[in-house]
Amino acid sequence: MSAGYRQQPNSARKDGKRVAGKQVFPPPGSGGSDPVMKERDLNFIPESVGGKEPQPAGSHIHDRIRTGTVIGKPLPLVDSNAKVTGQAWYGDDVRLANESIGKILRSPHHYAKIISIDTSKVEALPGVIAVATGADSPHSFGVLPVTKDEHAMAVEKVRHMGDLVACVSAVDEATAIEALGLFEIEWELLEPVFDPKKGLEDHDDPIHWRGKYHLAKTNVQKRVFQEFGDRSLVENPFSSSHGKWTMAGVHHGFTEPHAVVAHWDPNGRLQLYTPQQVPHYTHRALSTVLDVPMHQINVIRTFVGGGFGGKSDPFPHEMCAAILARKSGRPVRITFDREEVYWINRGRHPSNIEVKMTADDEGRISGFDIDALIDGGGFASFGHVTSYYNGVLATAPYELGSFHYTGARVWTNKPASGAMRGHGAVNTRCAVEVGLDEMAEEMNVDPIDLRLANLLPPHSRTITGFRITSNGMREALERVREGSNWDEKFRKLPLGKGIGIGCGFFISGSGLPIHWDPNRFPHATVHIQVDMDGGVTVHTGAADIGQGSTTAVAQVVSEVLALPIEMIHVRSHESDTSPVDLGSYSSRVTFMNANAAIRAALDIREKLLDAAWDILGYHPNTLIINDRRIYYKHDPAIGVSYLQALHKAQEDKGALISSGSYRSPPMGGVHKGAAAGLAPAYSFSAYVAEVDVDIELGLIKCTNVWAAHDCGKALNPLAVKGQIIGSCHMGLGQVLSEKMVYGRTGHLQNANLLEYKIPSIHEMPHVEPIIVESSDPEGPFGAKEAGEGPLLPILPAVVNAVYDAIGIRYNDLPLTPDIIFKGVEKKRKKLKLEEATELPSPRFTHGPKSIELQKSLMKRSQEHKKRDLARQKTEDTSPYVNGVLFGFDPNIPLEDQVEGWRMATEPDPEQLAELGLAGRAWLKKEQRQMESEK
C-alpha cells in the first residue's frame, strides 16, 4: 500500500456484531474495462442532493439515488452496434434448419361467405408440406378481451379484401405461391359496406354479430356518449368555431414487413419468433387459438423494424405459422410482402370529426363538443379504446366549461384500423387545435395567449377526471413562441408564408392494463441478477421497437448502481426468461419498466451498501456509491470496490438477484368509460410550424418546426430528440401526403410505398427539438413518455400555418395539392380576383374590445404562471379541479355547487334529436332491449 492510504477503521460496529478488519483489495477496475474510477459528474447530479444539475421544477423522490452516471446524458442506444453492423435479427432473419416457407391465401372479395374450400389439389402439388384453413382454428382471439373477433383464418366469412382464407407451407416460396392458386373455393357474395356513415344503418348481414349486445342490426362496434360540465355556459357564446373534418386513414409505414417463424421443438413446445411490440398478448392469443397452455409456448421477440402501434395486435399470420408448423413438424417462416402489410393494416382510423367550440367574453372555453365517427374496418382490434380516446384525450390541457362527446366506431369491409402512434388522439386533437385558432381569429387575439390563459395547472384534474401531475405545457408554449420568433411573424408574413401553433396532450402509460383481472397484478416487472464478476443482467419483457426501451432500462440500472452502461446487459427477447410485461403500447415502457427496473436495482444497491457497511463500519446513509466504488462520504479514501462489496454480499446472502415491479396508483372516476385515458402521468407538447404554400400549384412545403415536448425528464436526450423529430416526420406525412386511398369499389388502391407517400428527406423541414423537463413526481427520475405525444401538435400546427399563409381553412386531411388548389380557386372566385396570387393574407384587425381582451388574457396567463410554478414545486398543494377558472370551489363536488352541472354517459331522450353524426348510433337499441320489448 502506498503512503497516504488509510485502512478501514478497526473499530467494531455499534451493535458489536462485526469488526471491520484489514481488507485486501481486489484488483482495480473491478468490473468494467476501465481501471480508473470516473469522477462523480456533478453536472448530472441534481441540486437538491448537492450536485449542479438545475431543477427548475423542484426536487424529485429519485434524486437521492442519482449517481451522475448516465441519466440525462445523450447516449447511443445500447443495441445500436448490432443495428449498424447488420447483425440485428429481424423477423425474416430467423432462419432455422429444415425450414419451410408459408404463404397465405387472401380473400379476393370484400365481403363473402365461404361455402366450401377444397384443398385436394393443393395437397397434391409436389413440394407442398402442409395446408390449413379456418377449420383448423375455431377459436377466436383479439387484443382486447371484450372484442375477440378475429380468427387465424376466416371461419365463416371473409370481412375485407385481403382477409386470411387459408395458408400453405411448402419447400420453397415459388411452390407455396403456386399452391395458393390451387385452392377451390365456393363463395357467396354479400353486400359490402365501405362508407362508415352506412355502417350506422341496419344491414342484412352485419359484419360481426355480438348477440344480445349487438346494436340493432347495424355495423356499430362501439358507441360512446360523454357529457360533463355546465351546458348553460354554451348559450350566447362570445365566440365560436365549428369544424367538420374528413381525415383519411393512414398506415404506420414501418420499414420491416411482418414476418414470423414458428417451430415446435422436439419436446412439443412452440417457439415462435415474431417482431412484436406486445409479445405477451400474442402469447395469450396463441394459447387460446392452439389450445396449448401458455407455459408450452415461448414467444421470442426478434428485433422489431418499426412498430408505431402496427405490431401490437396478436396477428392471424402468427397463428397460421404455428398451425402449419404443428401440422408439418417443420419450422415455418412466413414473411409478408408490402401489399400484405396494408391488408393487415391496423393504421389510424379514417375519421369524420365534428368539433364545435365556444368561448365566453373573458376568453374562457365554455363549450367543447366533439363528434367522431371512426371507420374501424373489418375487425375490432384496439377500437373499443380508440372510440373513447377520440374524445377524452382532446380535453386537456385546457380548462373547460363543458365537454360533450359522442363517438362511434363502425365495422366496414376494409382492412382493420387499430392503434397507431398517438392512438385515437391525433385526429380530434387536430380538429380541436384548429378550432381554437379559429376562435382566436374571431376574437382577434393571439392564439398562444388564448391557450396560455386557459391551461390547467400542474396537480389538477381534467373535466373528465384525469389526474394531471406534472405539467410543462406553459413552458413548452413559451419556449416555442420564443424560439420561433412568433410575435414577429404571426399574421405578419406575406401571402404564401405562414406560421401556426398546435398543442398536444397524451397518456404516459395506460393506467389500467388490458388483460389483468384482478387489476392489482403489476403492469411491469423487471428481474436483475448480478454475476460473480459484477456484470448485471436485467430481464424485462419490455419490447424495444427502436424507441430505445432497452437502453432506458439499462440506463436506470446503470444510474442506480453507478456502473458503466457496458456492464448492464438487458435480456428482453424471450417470454421464457423475461417476466410478464404488457409490451410497448400507450407509451408505457419508460414510465413503467424503468420504474420497475429502479426498484429492482435499488434492492441490489441496498445489499451492496449493507455489505460495504459490514466491511467499513459506516452506515449506508454516509456512504457514496460511485463508479465501481463505495466510499465514506467525508473521506473518499475509506471505501471498498464494487466487486469487493459484491463478493461480500454474495458470501453472506448467496446469489444477488432481485425483482422490482410497477403498478399504477388507483385513479379515476366511476362513470362508464372512466378508465379510458387514465394514466399515471401525461405528456404535453407545443409545436410551431412554418410553411411555404405555393399558391398556384397548391404545394405545401413545411420549412421549420419548433417542437417543444414535456417529457418530464429526458433520460437520454439523444433518444428523446430522435423521437420528437421522428414524430414530426410521421405527423407531417399524415397532414401533407399520406392517405390510404379506397376506390369507388372499396378497393385499396395504394398498397405499396410508391403510391403511399411517406415523406422522404426532401419533404422534411428543419426540426428544432426543445426538451421541456417538468419532473414528474411518479416518473422514473421524473421521466414521462416521449414517443407518441410529440406527434399530435404537428398536424394542427401545419393546418394553422397554412391558414396564416393563404387565409383558407381546410378541413380535409391530408392537404394534398388538389385540395389546396380547390380551396384557393373557391376563394378566388368568391372574391372575384383575377389571380390566386392576389388573395389577401390574414391580418389582425384589432378593435378596442379585442385589445382589451388580449390584455386581459395576457394578464391572466401571467397570474396563472405564478400559480403553476407554486403548484409544480408543490409549494401550493391545494386541490384544483377543472372549473376553478369559472369560479367554482374545488373543495365541493361540482354537482353540488353548480346548477346544471351534468355528468352523463348516456344521452337524455330529448338530446337524441340533436346528436351529431356518430351520435346517431344512440338512436338504435341493443338487441337485448329490443327483445325485452317484444
Binding site: P28, G29, S33, P35, K83, R95, G181, T255, G722, I758
Partner: protein, 200 residues
Amino acid sequence: MVGTEYVPMTPKAAKEIWSAKVNGESVEELITSNAILLDVLRDQVGTLGVKRGCDLGTCGCCTVIIDGDARLSCLCLAGQVAGSEITTVEGLSEGAHLAPIQSCFAEHGGSQCGFCTPGFLLSAQALLTENDSPSDKEISCAIEGNLCRCTGYQQIVDSIKAAAEIHRGEAEPVQPASNPHPNPHPEGPDQPSMPPGHAR
C-alpha cells in the same frame, strides 16, 4: 396473393452458376437464371444484413454497393451483376472495428429501429467514398431513395456529416465503448481505484 384463378407458374428457370465478390470474398452459388440479387444475397450468400422492405425499389432497405455505386438489390437480377464487387453492410466494418459511418450512426442516433439502417449506411458510404465533404444538398440527394420512418432523417444527416469529418481526417474515429483497456492494472494489481484527484 389475391385471386382464385389458377395460373400455372412459368416453367422453372434454368440453373446457372453465379459468382461475384461479396464483401471481398469470392462466392459461387447455383442460382436460377431469373434470381433477384436480393434473394441470392439473403437466402444463398447469407448476408442477412441486406433487408427486404418493399420489393419495389421504393424503400431503399436493400441498398448494396455494386462496383462503387449504391444500387437497389431488389431491382437487380443477380445475373446482371455476376462478377461484380458487392458490398453489403457486413462488409463495411473491418473485423471488430466499425467503419466511421457505422460508429457515427450509432453515436448520433442515426439508427432507431435499425431496419433501414443498412441501406442508409451503404448509400452514405458510396457518397463518402466519392466525396468526403458533401454539402447538405448532396447528402439529401444521396439518401433520397431511402425511407426511414423512425428518425425523421435529421439525425441520419448529422451522422453522415460526422462521418465525413472522420473521412476528411478532421475528427478522431469513435472508439467503441467495449474496447478492452490496454493496461487494466496501471499501478499494480493491488492498487485500489480511487476517486480521481484524490491523494492516495
